[in-house]
Symmetry: C2
Subunit: 226 residues, 2 copies
DNA sequence: GCAATGCTTCGACTACCATCGAAGTATGAA
DNA sequence: TTCATACTTCGATGGTAGTCGAAGCATTGC
């Protein structure tokens, strides 16, 4: 009768509109302070503080203190993947918090999924990497091939440092707008960081959208041909 | 600020303990009546009825009338996949509704995930199918190879009838106990049905656990060597 | 030292929602 | 027709959780 993991706990954490807004804001990848999250959710600081401690207790968020600020962020990749999955379902049912606005196409084109690239561009990138045999698929797991290792080193990403961490280097993440997979994991994160460091792409403030520059578009298309 | 799909709606539906219990019960794959679901959740029929209409309105459940009974079941494969995903996260945080009991090992070994096989056996089956090149992995999608088509036809599963439906034939589903993928989709469903029809395996009543017979164990190992 | 900022804790209020009893509807059996 | 079963709808209740004002800590800056 009562068997298996308790999904109600997680559900109730996500189920409150204020908390859901904060989580969605944190899917933008930036670590945010309680004050910022409060305005995102449209509530006072006191209320936000209460919500944040619940989310932390539930294992969805972690915080770090820095001076007199507290920065909250999603606890692990897993949290982002789960949220993106739920968003996918909600989107398939047409459950949007507002009518698709002008921001919507930008989000579908390219956006941040916690710490990696999502949307049309994210999906195209993974497809291209697989087509060029730089990433290999085995079951649900992705693995970097030898050719892939050489490739990312050439881009300036150190394979050794990726491998050091306990996190998976490559993993799939279901894209809610494309309803297909894009690349997550430490490599996904490193690639997005690369795009931004090189000035190819910029994060919009207060949005998950990512805007590519003209030269960035070109560089991206050259790197990941369709 | 407010962008993207509304996860709070889904979260709140899953977040109520009574509803979570009903959903977990329906993960057993059987269509259940309000009366049965009410006892699973430990509530009265009136309350259950109210919950069920909410879950239906939210797109998580569908119902069909049959005589004076109403049978509820998960609306689509997607719902089961999402719930299994959330269970995976909850399990990784040690959020279990009871201390691991005697049922637990049985669940981890083999269980129903809505309509297909999950647990150790489910994962082994998919691994074996991939190792023997009967299923091919492309991105996050699985595809049946020519060899795979011949193979399932030999087992008595009609490839043509699988293909007719709009559902994907093969898809991955993240296993909460194994934390790896097993086979979902219409083929996953057909295979579980096959095991039960052949008398190799039996569903336990009032549990998601699946018990293999001795001859079933042997047949399974022959079909899907490690 | 004092003031300002950022955040948490406490306490009280309120609104919502799960819950169940009672009554109403539908299907089936006798 | 009458009774029984299966379920829904209505109405009332009660508990819980989200909300914010006010006060309390902590850190920084002057």
């Amino acid at each position: 009768m009562k068997e298996g993991p308790d999904i109600a706990l997680i559900g109730s954490l996500i189920g409150d509109p204020a908390r859901a807004n904060m989580l969605t804001a944190l899917m933008g990848g930036r670590a945010l302070t309680p004050t910022e999250l409060a305005t995102h959710a449209g509530i006072t600081l006191q209320t936000a503080s209460s919500h944040l401690s619940k989310l932390e207790a539930g294992g969805l968020l972690t915080q770090r203190k820095q001076g007199r600020h507290r920065y909250y962020q999603l606890a692990e990749d897993e949290v982002g993947l789960m949220l993106e999955n739920i968003m996918g379902f909600a989107a398939s049912r047409g459950m949007n918090r507002h009518r698709p606005g002008p921001k919507d196409p930008a989000l579908r084109k390219a956006r941040v999924c916690y710490n990696h690239l999502a949307g049309d561009y994210g999906v195209r990138m993974l497809d291209s990497l697989i087509a060029e045999k730089q990433i290999e698929v085995a079951g649900d797991d992705l693995a970097l091939t030898d050719a892939g290792q050489i490739r990312i080193e050439a881009l300036g990403i150190s394979y050794a440092s990726l491998k050091k961490s306990r996190r998976p280097i490559c993993r799939t993440c279901l894209d809610w707008s494309e309803r297909r997979s894009h690349l997550a994991g430490s490599l996904g994160e490193a690639l997005l960081t690369l795009f931004i460091d090189k000035g190819w792409a910029k994060r919009e403030t207060n949005s998950r959208a990512i805007r590519f520059t003209d030269s960035g578009e070109k560089a991206f298309s050259d790197l990941f041909p369709q």
